[in-house]
């Protein structure tokens, strides 16, 4: 029930925020802040849960903390089946945390229809939380779509100069891949129906579906493409720079911080465990796409003069690592992928907030018009340096742990891939430091009378910095939470003999 409460709080909070606009223009953001805070208060109790055996279906490892099912459309075997394990828990926590950050970061940015803005933020969050806890494929798809529309509206209404194009592109990419996902889910369900005579969308039942290799192979492609578009992996990444650049700050934070993670989550939770044999077949290709993303994203990032666009392309590069880590499929690489998802969520969200802050102050994102900003905004400069360094993978911060583990894990599986992926660490240093030099260092291009970060912004930034340092210096708690899940996933794919480097 607590999971349903979590999602409901966000849904209802969004509606109240919208209504509250009619009473007072300041209230919507308070309503959002309070409802996300209430949702956040539910989280600590989840960390104390122990995996319990009774609720666990026989086929999976005992890693489920909560499982809960309510019939929805029984005729098709559709239920509101929600569950929480370590992986979901980490992702939900990241979502709520970044949701809080997004609301605070856009505190004074939105003048136009603040209530509807907060409504969209809250519904995006609710959709994302739903994606991370849904274990019924229909429910999963439902949430998968629910998170898109508010995000579309956020970009289309409150975006920057080219918002119409960017929001449409975002929606078309994700929606068409979503339809592909729907067809694949149905193909899987009907294949299972053909074998067992039982209509069900339950993840656990579908794990046991005995698919013929052909069916599994084609259906797997549907899942793979849908998730890789969202990730985004090369060559499906082209929506991302536009969407990120045009989105308002809060939406960029949510997009980079959590929406991209739903793609990675889908690959880990669904694509590989549901179709282990087929996944082995395409693993080299998937890792190759990952490497292409790492290097191509980095090169393009270096070519940008728009600060936000640069950060957006760096996301393509970082998420390439996640894709490699997932398809190397061993303990180290998966731990690395999870860590990279969280660390990238924090560091990129922070960089987007900085980009937003710069735009609010300078009314431009063009780095050629910046330079020497450290003089007028030393606090912002220092903080930016921290996140730039985190993003380029400095040891001691979370991103390093993630990328290092991914490379370690992949080395056992495929050495050439590892070598090329490691190049990404160098290119990251190039574009990240370039961005720093163009904006905050060098001679000031003009006399500026701008405000430095205030207390509100500093406190948000410090929270994220603490998070990254903690992940970098003492990542063990994260691994403790996620390891039982990963162990369970190996168990599911263990029957696949050709899988290299399993536990």
């Amino acid at each position: 029930m607590i999971l349903i409460a979590l999602v409901s709080i966000l849904f209802i909070g969004g509606i109240i925020a919208w209504i509250a606009e009619g009473w007072n223009r300041d209230w919507p953001r308070w309503v959002s802040l309070i409802s996300i805070a209430v949702a956040a208060l539910l989280l600590p109790s989840l960390f104390l849960l122990e995996p319990h055996l009774s609720a666990t279906p026989a086929t999976t490892a005992n890693s489920w903390l909560i499982l809960h099912s309510i019939p929805w459309i029984p005729k098709f075997g559709i239920a509101v089946l929600v569950g929480l394990d370590g992986l979901s828990l980490l992702m939900v926590t990241l979502t709520i945390f970044l949701g809080l950050i997004a609301v605070v970061s856009s505190w004074s940015e939105i003048d136009h229809r603040p209530g509807f803005f907060q409504f969209n933020i809250m519904w995006t969050l609710a959709g994302v939380v739903g994606v991370f806890i849904a274990l019924d494929m229909f429910l999963f798809f439902f949430f998968w779509e629910v998170m898109l529309i508010p995000m579309y509206l956020l970009i289309a209404i409150w975006g920057h100069e080219n918002r119409g194009y960017a929001s449409m592109k975002f929606f078309l990419f994700t929606q068409i891949s979503g339809l592909l996902l729907l067809v694949s889910i149905l193909a899987l369900v009907f294949a299972n129906y053909g074998n067992t005579g039982e209509f069900t969308f339950s993840y656990f039942a579908l794990l046991d579906a005995n698919l013929s290799p052909d069916v599994a192979y084609w259906v797997m492609w549907g899942f793979f493409i849908a998730f890789v578009v969202k990730l985004p992996g090369f060559p499906f990444h082209t929506w991302l720079p536009d969407a990120h650049t045009q989105a308002p700050t809060a939406a960029s934070v949510l997009l980079a911080g959590i929406l991209l993670k739903t793609g990675a989550y889908g690959l880990i939770r669904f694509t590989v465990p549901l179709f282990p044999e087929a996944a082995v077949e395409i693993a080299p290709l998937a890792m190759l796409l990952g490497v292409a993303g790492v290097i191509y994203g980095a090169i393009l990032a270096f070519a940008q003069s728009d600060f936000k666009r640069l950060v957006a392309y760096s996301s393509v590069s970082h998420m390439g690592f996640v894709l490699i880590g997932i398809y190397a499929w061993n303990q180290l690489s998966l731990q690395g992928s999870v860590m990279q998802m969280i660390a990238h969520g924090l560091s990129t969200a922070a960089l987007f907030m900085i980009a937003g802050a710069l735009q609010q102050r300078l009314h431009t994102r063009d780095m050629t018009a910046m330079g020497g900003l450290w003089v007028s905004m030393p606090r912002m400069g220092g903080i930016t340096l921290f996140f730039i360094i985190a993003s380029l993978g400095m040891p001691g911060l979370g991103n390093f742990v993630g990328e290092f583990l991914i490379l370690m894990g992949t080395f056992k599986v495929n050495i050439p891939i590892t070598v090329f992926a490691a190049l990404g660490l160098i290119t990251a240093a190039v574009y990240a430091l370039y961005a720093m030099q163009q904006t905050f260092q060098g001679a000031p291009t003009q006399e500026l009378d701008v405000e430095d970060f205030g207390a509100r912004e500093i406190s948000v930034m410090v929270l994220m910095m603490v998070g990254l340092v903690f992940l970098g210096l003492y990542p063990q708690p994260v691994f403790d939470i996620v390891d039982p899940v990963l162990a369970g996933l190996y168990q599911l794919t263990q029957s696949t003999p050709s899988w290299l480097g399993s536990l």
Binding site: W72, I73, P74, K75, F76, R113, F138, F141, F142, E145, V146, L148, I149, Y152, L153, A156, I157, G164, S167, M168, F171, L172, Q175, I176, L179, L180, L182, V183, L186, A187, F190
Partner: protein
């Protein structure tokens, strides 16, 4: 005819009585409000008779009509849509020049034609219903006396619909020549004859019949009239044409195929597949190029009937009939409710005194900020048309894909996915336009009755989208009883 027969026909009789009463009232005293109120009351009485029939169905009333659950569901739907259209039309015509009273008369006649269609099991009643529906529509389309556009639309519809009826009749004649009967059920028992000549009669007859139906359903390549008629007709009539007229004809097609077993002819299924693919692609591609909301909705309705055919065709696959019927009916209901809502919005923004309805895309600029409730309802309707979760359109599309996957119609499914992808673009374009900064500050008045209609339509779309279980259960029984 026994008493039972009359009892079974009571919805049709109630509507007929209402038509006569309204005719008398108009003759005695022209009063827009009274006529509209009587119409709505009469339609509610029609609805109220349906529970009296539910206990005794199915009843075969002579050879011509059958009143069963399927017919009753569609009669209910037609009555509800007609009530909604009457209320929308009241606000559309209210206080304007011209004499709107006969409008309701024609509307009810047309609805009666639709009700006859959905319950007919014989070519005689089929044609009777079809002509009742169509002839009233010619007059309805050209009802406002405000210029040439409605007139042009009506003439276009008159000619093309007449051709379609003629084609249909020829098809029926050939079937009769081959099998010597006009009753669907008896046609079915002789549908697979040994002799090649009779088979040829049947295939050619069915082809002509399908052509006629495709005209009425505006399937590609017989869709040319649709955008012009949708654009030219007054908005409430467009709502009626797009929902009742198409829905009733599709229902008849379902009945014909189920009773005759025409699904067994592979060539018929191939023909339908060509219609479906053409409609999904051409409808969506042409909709992309429209800057007129009514024309855009016209092309999108072409595409939607194409989607509907995907589910219908899957009925030809062994064992797929029940799911195919269930999916078709669910999608049809979702389509009718959503389309009614879409044209309802256009109606609210339009006025019969202006030379054009409010159908240019730029008229919708900034609607979100001028009338958030109206724009919100329109967004939900457009999301439903695009097939996005939380709406009836999503469950409908889900059903269709389910039926298609079960029937392994991969080509059709692929076309559907591509078509839906294109569709998203033009639906979102309208929503995007509504979110732009407003150019006009002229206040928009939402009339009370139309406002309630839109509220109910939106609520239905969301209810069917979030908790469709009761309706699905009902459809399951219905589909089983049909097959």
């Amino acid at each position: 005819m026994t008493f039972l027969d009359f009892q079974a026909l009571s919805p049709l009789l109630a509507l007929t009585a209402t038509i006569l009463v309204v005719l008398m009232i108009i003759a005695y005293n022209r009063n827009h409000k009274v006529v509209c109120t009587t119409t709505v009351i009469g339609l509610f009485i029609t609805l109220a008779t349906i529970p009296c029939v539910i206990g005794i169905d199915p009843v075969q009333v002579t050879q011509l009509l059958v009143i069963d659950r399927f017919a009753l569901l569609l009669i209910t739907l037609i009555a509800l849509v007609t009530i909604a259209v009457s209320l929308l039309a009241y606000d559309y015509f209210d206080g304007n020049s011209g004499r709107p009273e006969e409008f309701y008369l024609l509307l009810m006649l047309s609805a009666l034609g639709g009700m006859v269609l959905v319950s007919s099991t014989h070519f005689a009643s089929f044609l009777l219903g079809l002509e009742l529906l169509s002839i009233s529509l010619y007059a309805l389309i050209s009802y406002p006396i405000k210029g040439l556009i409605p007139l042009e639309a009506a003439v276009k519809y008159l000619i093309l619909s007449g051709v379609a009826s003629a084609t249909l009749l020829m098809g029926a004649a050939l079937l009769y020549a081959g099998l010597g009967t006009l009753s669907f059920e008896q046609l079915g028992s002789g549908f697979y004859p040994e002799q090649a000549t009779v088979q040829a009669y049947i295939v050619i007859g069915s082809a002509l019949l399908l052509t006629g139906l495709a005209f009425k359903l505006s399937l590609v390549p017989f869709h040319m009239w649709t955008p012009d008629v949708y654009e030219g007709a007054p908005a409430p009539v467009t709502a009626f044409v797009a929902t009742v007229s198409k829905g009733a004809i599709f229902a008849l097609m379902v009945r014909f195929f189920v009773l005759t077993g025409a699904f067994e002819y592979q060539s018929i299924l191939v023909g339908l597949s060509v219609f479906a693919i053409g409609s999904m692609l051409a409808g969506n591609l042409l909709a992309l190029m429209q800057n007129n909301v009514k024309r855009m909705l016209a092309y999108s309705s072409i595409a939607h009937i194409g989607y509907l055919l995907v589910a219908f065709i899957s009925g030809g696959i062994t064992g797929g009939m029940a799911l195919a019927l269930e999916a078709s009916i669910f999608f049809l209901v979702a389509y009718i409710v959503t389309t009614l809502g879409a044209f309802g919005i256009v109606t609210i923004l339009s006025n019969s005194d202006e030379s054009r309805d409010c159908d240019a895309l730029e008229n919708y600029t900034g609607l979100f900020w001028r009338r958030p409730a109206l724009a919100g309802a329109f967004s939900i309707i457009l999301f439903s048309l695009a097939g996005i979760p939380l709406t009836a359109g999503f469950i409908g599309k889900f059903y269709i894909i389910a039926a298609g996957v079960k029937g392994t119609l991969w080509l059709l499914i692929a076309t559907l996915v591509v078509g839906s992808g294109i569709g998203i673009y033009y639906y979102l374009r309208v929503i995007y336009t509504m979110t732009l900064k407003s150019t006009s500050t002229e206040p928009i008045r939402i009339p009370v009755a139309s406002g309630w209609v839109m509220l109910l339509v939106t609520a239905t779309i969301l209810t069917l989208g979030v908790y469709p279980t009761p309706f699905i259960d009902m459809l399951g029984d219905l589909a089983k009883s049909l097959t």
